[in-house]
């Protein structure tokens, strides 16, 4: 995976979907997206490998430059980004939504932790949904109250 930040955009009608990959750090620039004026912004964070502390600031400042009434959605949020959203304020702008994210599950048979893509609406009352892999039930491998805390930040 390349470490430099890469932004791939796809525009359809009134929305733009941005595939974000690589590192979001002090070198990150988002002019490319700011130049696209749309009503709906969908950020696919699947390929993000790192957001450092300066990258968090760049991202928050970037969000502030998007139109106030923009409809913002995050999807495929990696586990490391979930951890960081849980540690900072402002990474998810008020009104924004997180539709899907990765969460750790333990496969006892294989004795390994796997990352499972969850839809946010699968998390009811702060409880992790049941998952299985090749017929084996998986055990949610985090502390629900901590891990799902970031969902409270969304609008």
């Amino acid at each position: 995976m390349s470490t430099s930040l890469k932004l791939e955009t796809q525009i359809l009608d009134n929305k733009v979907e941005v595939k974000v990959s690589g590192q979001i750090d002090e070198d990150a620039t988002f002019e490319k997206i700011l130049n696209i004026k749309q009503e709906v912004y969908i950020f696919d964070l699947e390929g993000v490998s790192l957001i450092n502390s300066c990258g968090v600031r760049e991202w928050i400042n970037f969000l502030e430059k998007l139109p106030e009434d923009a409809d913002i959605t995050y999807k495929n949020v990696p586990q490391i980004v979930v951890e960081q959203i849980n540690m900072v304020q402002g990474f998810v702008r008020p009104g924004a939504r997180i539709t899907s994210f990765y969460a750790p599950y333990y496969n006892e048979e294989k004795d390994e932790v796997v990352k499972v893509l969850l839809q946010s609406d699968e998390v009811a009352n702060g409880k992790a949904p049941s998952k299985s892999e090749d017929g084996t039930d998986l055990e949610f491998d985090a502390i629900e109250a901590q891990y799902f805390n970031f969902l409270k930040q969304q609008g």
């Binding site: 470490t3 450092n52 490391i80 750790p104 932790v113």
Partner: protein
């Protein structure tokens, strides 16, 4: 070495060295826990054992008494306490050869330019075996190595340098990643003249209190907060010209176990 312990929550801790005394006045070092920390007075002598949140440990406990040693609850807390007391008794720094015995593997690179940060981290990570750790560990170490190296390069001579400029150093910065049977060690050493305890505590406190990046400085002021929050033990060795920073992670296959950690903080001045 005379030790006074008033830590009811850790009454089962079994320390094998030291002479135990009945009053704090007699002791060289005093060990308290969350429930008795109000009795602590001396940052050089008082050690906190804690099972409570990192945020409470920093914002309440260490801001009350600026102790150099906070030890988070873990399965090997007795070993950590004994090691801390031993180093303090000898007026030493934390030495990887004693605190991190029998490394199975160790990879070290030396960086002279800030432009080498990303590739050096990738190089060290690609040479490291993560097969017996939860899969998120690699991403966590990538982030922490990045924060420590960025600080090492951009805080030269106490100045917060422009992050877009290339910084070239005469003395290279080492980045080391090693593991033994029970832990992973991440080490970075800078030549920034030393990171004063008060500045370190202020930085951590700001992170926990505000949880937002600073806008008035080149750095965002969240790096050390991330590093402390995501490590089992954060160890700082204050040296003549700079600071050696070591992050220790308990070897773990389960992310859930990692999430239960209470981070330790050690600040050694070698005096």
């Amino acid at each position: 070495m005379k030790i006074y312990i008033n830590a009811p929550e850790f009454s089962d801790i079994n320390l094998k060295r030291g002479q135990f005394v009945n009053t704090p006045e007699e002791a060289d070092y005093r060990i308290y826990d969350h429930s008795t920390w109000d009795l602590a007075k001396n940052p050089d002598k008082d050690i906190l054992l804690s099972s409570v949140d990192d945020e409470i440990n920093i914002l309440e406990h260490l801001n009350k008494v600026h102790s150099h040693h906070l030890i988070g609850k873990s399965s090997n807390i007795a070993t950590e306490v004994e090691r801390t007391l031993s180093i303090l008794d000898q007026g030493d720094h934390w030495d990887p050869s004693k605190g991190f015995p029998s490394p199975i593997s160790s990879h070290e690179v030396l960086l002279s330019s800030s432009k080498e940060i990303k590739n050096s981290i990738d190089e060290v990570l690609s040479n490291f075996d993560f097969s017996d750790q939860f899969n998120e560990q690699k991403d966590i170490i990538r982030l922490l190595a990045n924060e420590l190296l960025v600080n090492a390069f951009y805080h030269q001579l106490g100045e917060d340098q422009d992050r877009s400029s290339e910084i070239i150093l005469e003395t290279p910065v080492p980045l080391q990643l090693a593991r033994n049977e029970s832990s992973v060690l991440l080490r970075v050493e800078d030549t920034n003249g030393g990171f004063p305890y008060e500045k370190m505590l202020a930085s951590l406190s700001r992170g926990f209190r505000d949880k937002t990046p600073r806008q008035d400085t080149e750095g965002a002021g969240l790096g050390l907060y991330f590093v402390f929050k995501m490590t089992n033990q954060l160890i700082l060795n204050l040296k003549e010209n700079g600071t050696e920073i070591i992050c220790m992670f308990d070897l773990n296959k389960r992310y859930k176990e990692y999430m239960k950690r209470v981070s330790s903080l050690h600040y050694y001045t070698g005096k």
